[in-house]
Structures are given as C-alpha cells and as structure tokens.
Symmetry: C2
Subunit: 351 residues, 2 copies
Amino acid sequence: MSKRKPPKEPPAASVTVADRGEFGFIEALRLSLPPAYGALKLGVGDDAAWWRPEAGNGILTTADMLVDGVHFDLSYTSAADLGYKALAVNLSDLAAMGAKPDCVYLSLGLPADLKIKWLDEFIKAFLDLAAEYDVQLAGGDTVAARELVISVSVNGLAPGPAPLLRSGAGVGDDLYISGTIGDSFLGFKLLQGSLPPEAADSDAVAWLKARHLRPRARVALGERLAASGRVSAMLDVSDGVVADLGHILRASGGLGARIESRRLPFSPAARQFLDTGRIALVDLLTGGEDYELLFSAAPAGRRKISEVAALAGVSLTRIGRITEPGTVLMLDNETRLDKLSGRGGYDHFHN
Amino acid sequence: MSKRKPPKEPPAASVTVADRGEFGFIEALRLSLPPAYGALKLGVGDDAAWWRPEAGNGILTTADMLVDGVHFDLSYTSAADLGYKALAVNLSDLAAMGAKPDCVYLSLGLPADLKIKWLDEFIKAFLDLAAEYDVQLAGGDTVAARELVISVSVNGLAPGPAPLLRSGAGVGDDLYISGTIGDSFLGFKLLQGSLPPEAADSDAVAWLKARHLRPRARVALGERLAASGRVSAMLDVSDGVVADLGHILRASGGLGARIESRRLPFSPAARQFLDTGRIALVDLLTGGEDYELLFSAAPAGRRKISEVAALAGVSLTRIGRITEPGTVLMLDNETRLDKLSGRGGYDHFHN
C-alpha cells in the first residue's frame, strides 16, 4: 500500500523522523531485528508480542503510547473518556490475538499544572474498565513531563495452542469484520467540528461520538474466535479497514482481497451521514480507530463463525474474500483500495 | 522520611500534580488499589510486578518512563548513552528482584525534527546492551510527540521460589550495598557543570561521568543473591541510599537502621572530591541513580554473601544493620538521616 512521503529526502545526516514517517521507522527497525528465538515466539510486527517462558500457552504483551495533541484532544475528551480509551485500545490489541487480558502497567508523563482532580477521574475510569475485564493494575511509572503522555502495557494469557496472528490468511478465505465500520471516524469529525451534525438526529450524533471516545474492546469475541479454531488471521482495526487489511495481506505473503461494498456493515447513524453525500464510503474504510476485529476464515468454518457471533452477542459480517497474490484489492464498484494514495493508514508524523 | 511540600495546598479542585508531588500521587494510588489477587502476586510498590499466570516461578515486569529535560539532558547525553541507560535502569529493577531479564518493550514519543541518525544510534546502543544480557526487543510503539519520551518495560523470569522484595528485612539484619556510592551524583554534577572538575584527575572525572551516563545493572549479582537464599530484602538505589533505605524500612513494617559512615564504600574518584570538602558525605548518600543493590541479610549469612560477591565479581560492603522500630536512622557521627528534610528521594515535580 502506498504511503505519503515528502517529495525528496534531505542528506542522510539530516533526515528527520518526519521525513521517514512512523511506519518507515518501525518497518526499518523490524527488518533490522533478528528473528525471535528462545522463549519469545513472536516479536515486533503483530498486535502483541507472544512470550512463552514457562510451561503453558505463554503470555501476550501489548504496548501503546498516547500523546496529548497527537492521539487525543483534551478540548473534547474528558479525563474519564481518556482513562477508558487508554486501556481499551490495549485490550483491543489482546482481543485481536484471541488472548485474555490479565494485568496492566500504566506509565504517565504529567505536566506540573495538571489538576489532581483530572488525574483522579482519569485513574477511576481506567480502573473501572480494568475491573470490568478482571484486569489488575500491576505497575508502571509516574514522571513529570511538559505534555501529557500515557504509556500502557497489558499482559494477557495466550489462547491454546497459539494466538491468532496476522499472517495465516489463505487464498479463498472469507473476510469478516465485527460490528460496524467508520463510526469512530464520524464521531471524530463531529467532535472536531469538521462535520456538521445537522445531517443526523442528536441520538445518532451522540452515539458516534461515544464510538470514538469509548471504543469497546472485543475481548470475549476474540477469545471465542480463537477457541473456534476456524480463524486463519486476525487483527483489530486501528489504522482503518483498508490499511489493516493490507497488514493481513502483506503478513500472509502478499495476497490480494476483494471486498463487496454492498456487504459492508454501517451503523444506522453512519448511514445518515452517507446518505447526505458529505461522507464517502471510502472515508469510512480508511478513517481508523474502529477497534473492530477483522479476520479471515476458510469457508468451511462459516457455520461455526455464525455460532460464535451469536454467543458473543456481536455481529460478524462477511465482507469479501482473500484472493491470489497480485490480484487487485477492490470494491465491487471497481475502486482500487490499494491505490488510495496517502490513505493507507494513519501516520502520526504526517496527519 | 520527610518530603518537601509547598507550605499550603490550594482548594481541592485546583490542586495540581506539582502541589501533590510524584510520591504523593503514587502513594495515594497504591493505597486505593485492592490487594493483588489471582495470578498477580505482587502489584504496585516494589521494583517490578510479579505475575504467575502459569506453572513455574512466574514473571517480573518493570516499567520506566524517561522524559527529555526531566530525566536526561541532551546537551551532554549522547544518543548512544541514552539508549544504553533507558534499558539499563530497567534491567537494574529486575536485578533488584533477583530476576533474569528476557524481553523488552520500547515505546518512543518522537519529535518530528529528531534526526533519524540520532534515533539509529539510540536504537543501536539499546539493542547492543540488550544482546549483552540476551534480552530481545519484543514490541513497543512509536508515536509523534513534542518532546522526546522513552517508555521501557522489561519482562524477566522470577527466581525460584520467590523474588526478593523490599519488605522482608528483620531487626538485627546486616545492611549491604554493592559497588560504590555517589559516583553517579558526582558525574551528574560534573556533566551539568555545577562541580568544578579541577579537584580530581581527568581519568577520575571521565569515570564519574560514565557512572552517571552508563550505569551497570547488577543483574548477575542479583540472580546470585536470590539463589543464595540469604537476602531478606533488596532494591536498587535510584532515589539515593537514604531514600531507598527508607523504602526498605517502611516496607518491612517501620523498622530503623544504623549506618556506619566509616564503612561506606566510596570510589577513589569520589574520594578525591570528598577530600576537597566541596562535597559532603551526605550528598553522596542522597544523590541517587547509583543503581547499586541495597539489601539486608541475617548475620548467619555473612560467609555466603562473601562468596556471592567473589563469584559475581562485584564488591559487597556491609554498611550497617537494621534496628528496632522507632530507632533513629543515623550515621555513627550522629547525623539523623531521616531528618534530612527535602533530601529524602528525588521528586521530579520539585527538583
């Protein structure tokens, strides 16, 4: 998938982080690392690392850093919203591996003038969500910083016999997504004030905002999908369906995919905005922060997948299928998703 | 131990992080948490968390966040120094539990104008040190930030049958420290330019600076001490000997201690500065960032402890002993260490 890049790169010694971009740096780092060995079964490159130091299925570890003004905007994000989301996005990474979250480490960089009241509300929402998933705060760090920085790591238990990776998709597999797509992107635009809310009723607007501020991590669904034995590859959608599908296709050896646009699951609230024509379908496929599970499964597993959806109480929609390498990833309306320049995933240094 | 505090606190709703202080916030958070249960054997409050989700001794997890201008000064800290130290301080936390480090998670908040060359040097030093300890980089996150923020978490293997906590000291136990005290503080002052280097020879000055920039984590020593079965309580000295001894005494139920100043181990380089009179002995006991191991052990273990020191190739010095609760912590020159107002540990919000 193409990535936005500045037209030319300056001389080597003066190339900056912004010139290279977030994905460029991580990809270069990943390629420079030796393959995982010993107790480390899976290192950099998936939603979580898989480490099996003792007898058993091993543990999965996520790490996420959130920075004020980059990942959140305190003008419309409450302390409680942020406390909730800082944990939820990590739980979502574990859900994407089929893992059961167990304990969390929270490190905070705090500006000196931050109100303790704000911090108390942040912590309360963080711990309330943790308690809901039976997750304990086990450690972390608290330091002074000029800007608010939140670094969260969650340890979870791997499903037996192995976690669900991004890399197992095969040609002919069905492609599924949980829940609905694009709500978080619309919520974000509404919160930002860059999308007029008049096109939708006030309940829909409030619901979309909540989808952005308080994403549900699909933990129970992820565990059930792992237990089904039917899923070949899975991740959670954080960069947008297009970019994250690209991650599965690349990790699975450079496969293609075909998505049927008429099958894409949109919420009634999102449909109100699609109907106005101010929002394009492709915006909802590239917006990101859906925190829904995107996965592939051979067609023989369809009945089992339906059962899982019913038991987990989350809708699962078959949106297309995995195709041969080289096959162009496209909608049935012939849009080449892999040619959406500059929309192939969110880069914090360029957006 | 007393802590510096502003004279009065403003009305509840406007109390800031700076008013409360780093230790105040963490202590309040710790007290608000329920006791660890289930697989989590030890949560917030020691050098690392202890989690035992499967058969075996369980794993230990550290978390540290470093912020530009708070924890390091790029005017005298090279990219390689910082890459080294960011990992070393976490390895030291695991050493303090007697654990064997195994894999590391690195999250970076990067300013857009940071040079890729700088970042490459940072990563190289980080990975070189990791390789030295057979530690693998397993995951992390990379995001944009206005200031450089480094968040590191290391997973290690607990020594059997249990890690060495801060809380096991008993009355009559000997007190030991590894290596020498105060070198890092002197190195810091020399790097800062607030201590004239003329009092010492240039080799001594360079060595002290290196002790600050590149602290050795006492990993092998920590493992051997844990295996000896003789250590009752241990931590690594990051806040200064006085403050960290206070942590052991409080965690062990409010005990006292007596330190014999003539026994304190100072390096020849540090002695050059002590001899000038510009640096007081107590400065070296409160400076912090020694990353030496401070521990207690019953006198019956003296021979075994000596053997460990010899095998690990690190000097261990018996500097005093644990005394009854209420006993005043003092030097043999009658200084009450617990009355050193405002020196009882480094608070990033107030220093």
